[in-house]
């Protein structure tokens, strides 16, 4: 399983507890320098997977390599290259933000001249001005930011973030993703689990997990296409669209599916939105229709996710 391009590689990775599979047959290849989203509903095996990747859990079956090593045999040097933000806040409530940061820095053996690095990490999550506050006196959002700062304090190469935005308000959530993108831009690899399907859009690659099984791994666009069979276009005309129009448009070679949305509105599934729009406009003109609006519809990932898990649910 030597792989220079991929920072994480798993093969048939499984974990069971009391004969109950939490993760089953997971095959992943996570390239370096990406935000890898690991999406699935609660209890789908996201945290179990992260724990296997960080060496907290021993897999029941299968193989795993992270940073080229088996997590069970991580050296101290390899561990120092990893950052891990657990799902729950686990720092010390009776310490201040600064003291907790110091604790995290010491855990990674950072030297005594580390104040600048600590300050940078706190600046990164906008907590510097609160550094002297006790952790049990700050809000849940600030605690998540502190967790993130503590995870980043030793400048890790590979960062595991287990539901970093859970319970965080939308504004802060958006800021978190901004930070993640900054980290990715500075050469880090982020492995992020989330149950907010909508956050998939921020990722470079997304793995969708359902009941411990990997459904698919793709880019956000790839996932949408996979879910709906292509790009979605919304067509709105001035004249009402009758059944004939619907039939004719469905017979166009690049149109894969037509759904009526109203008397003058259709939703179309096409192979490639941007290139197929001019052809559609030409077709409408030929039919004597005046197009009021024709643009690409980007469905929310909630809908994408529902479409993706539908076949699996139907099989079940």
């Amino acid at each position: 399983m030597e792989d220079q391009d991929n920072i994480i590689v798993t093969k048939d990775l499984s974990k069971s507890f009391d004969d109950q599979f939490a993760v089953q047959g997971l095959n992943l290849e996570v390239p370096r320098n990406v935000i890898f989203g690991f999406i699935g509903p609660s209890g789908s095996g996201k945290t179990t997977t992260i724990r296997m990747l960080t060496g907290v859990y021993k897999p029941t079956n299968g193989q795993v390599k992270v940073l080229g090593s088996d997590p069970k045999r991580f050296s101290q040097k390899t561990r120092a290259r990893i950052g891990y933000m657990p799902q729950l806040f686990v720092l010390y409530p009776h310490l201040t933000i600064w003291e907790n940061m110091n604790f995290a820095a010491s855990l990674y053996g950072m030297g005594l001249r580390r104040s600048d690095r600590l300050r940078q990490a706190l600046d990164f999550v906008e907590l510097t001005e609160h550094r002297d506050k006790l952790t049990n006196e700050i809000s849940g959002g600030m605690q998540r930011r502190l967790s993130l700062a503590a995870t980043l304090v030793h400048d890790p190469e590979l960062i595991f973030l287990d539901e970093p935005t859970a319970g965080v308000d939308p504004v802060l959530r958006s800021k978190f993703w901004d930070r993640f993108r900054e980290l990715r831009s500075s050469g880090r690899t982020l492995f992020v689990t989330t149950q907010y399907v909508g956050e998939a859009v921020y990722c470079d690659l997304i793995a969708v997990l359902q009941e411990g099984r990997l459904l698919t791994v793709d880019t956000p666009k790839g996932l949408r296409q996979r879910a709906f069979g292509g790009d979605l276009l919304n067509l709105k005309t001035v004249e009402p669209l009758d059944y004939n129009h619907e039939q004719l448009i469905g017979e166009l070679p690049f149109v894969r599916k037509v759904t009526r949305q109203g008397p003058t509105r259709l939703r179309l599934v096409v192979g490639e939105g941007k290139t197929d729009i001019p052809a559609l406009l030409a077709w409408a003109t030929g039919q004597g229709l005046h197009v009021e609006n024709l643009d690409e519809f980007v469905p929310p990932f909630d809908e994408v996710f529902v479409e993706l898990v539908k076949p699996e649910a139907e099989n079940v």
């Binding site: 907290v56 859990y57 021993k58 686990v90 720092l91 009776h94 310490l95 604790f103 855990l107 053996g109």
Partner: protein
Amino acid sequence: MSNPFRSFIRASAFWRKEIFELLRQPQMILTLVLGPFLILFLFGVAYRSQAPVFKTLFVAPPNSALAQHIEEYTSGMKGEFTFEGVTSDEQAAMERLRSGSVDLIIVVPQNALKEISANKQASFTIYSNQTDPIQANWTKYYGYVLVNEINRRVLQSVVQQGQTNFAQLQDRVKAARANIATIRSALEKGDTATANAQAAELSTNVDLVSVAAGATLDVLSGVQQTTGSPESSQAADAGSALAAVRQDAAAMGSSSGGGSAAATRLQNLTKMDQELAKLETNLGAVQKVDSAVLVNPFTDQVKNVLPITITPVDFFAPAVLALLLQHLAVTFAALSIVQERTEGTLELFRVSPLAASEALLGKYVSYLVFGGIIAALLSALLVYVLHVPMLGNWISFTVVIALLLFASLSIGFVISLVSRNDSQAVQYTMLVLLTSVFFGGFVLALSMIWGPARVISYLLPATYATILLRDVMLQGLAPSPLLIDGLVVIGVVLCLAAWLMLRRIIARSQ
């Protein structure tokens, strides 16, 4: 940066963290220091080193002679009994015992004289209503003391009577010596009849002397036999002189005739006269001995060779210090790792480069420092405020405290690693505390614990520390190397066990 330095930094994470967390709870520190100090202080103020005093009601027949003297007898035992009266109604007395208005009922024997005459001991029956076995033992002891007191008084009365007869005794000795003079004169004149008659009278007088002096001389003889004293005493001399005179008087009475027999009798008379003179002198000395001394010839004087007087507070202070520091260290350590586990930080440790040895070292150092500060504050309060003696040197004291904390922390870490949650850890901690209270020499001296069970005592750091701190503080002794080794062994063995367990938890995947 070198690996050892990084290890040092990782361990230091815990020093700062633990100390800061503890310092953020000043109320707890205040309780830890002032609480035990105040308890000891109150104990010092409240403790009375006295045996219990029982409210005692006597049950005796209405006209019992003993009953008439009971109050007088118990008046000499005010430390043990409060005299609540004498009643002939045993049932009513028992009701009072059950209701708690009296502590003891002592039933005087009904026919003491009859039983003693029949060669039986007359028995006092003592009833108590005690649930506390220690108080019940005091009851038994007081019963023993009471009966001894009554027996002593009876014996004293007999001896007093004997001494009253001593005045008559002197007259009898004088009469016997007059008999000897008359016999001598009669023999010199050849008047055998008069001599024989006087010899009979002499024999009677000597017998009477023997009977009258017997009780007192027997008591003194008993004392001599009990003590095994080899030297001669006035009582023994008087006794042996009396025995010789009786023998000679008997011989005098049975012999007769003249010639050489008369010469032999004259020689005997001279000897008897000398012995009676000696007896007269010795009896005079014995008569002067107080009857109370005669029946209670021995008393005791207990002297402690320690250079200071040790109060109960002084005695208990080292044990309290040892027990408290053990409990504090065990509790902190027991909660320490289990909290990391339940709060989830252990998961962070597993992912980080932290080694079990580094985590453990960090925690040991922080709690040793914290425990040391608490120990220093408490010791200062004990020595400088409660004035508990500190005869030994402070270095020995510090070594004992450090080892006590080390061994106790090791116990705590093992508890922490085998516990699933806080409450389980606290339960184990309380078990260690309870075991230490009963087996650690705090309440009961180790000598009162059954030999094989003492193994439990020597598994507890508080046992070693209590003995060592008492030696250092109250006697100024150097710590016993064997006991020091005991603390080191407990600490090291359990430290290794804790390290192996924590290593398994941190290093290995589940």
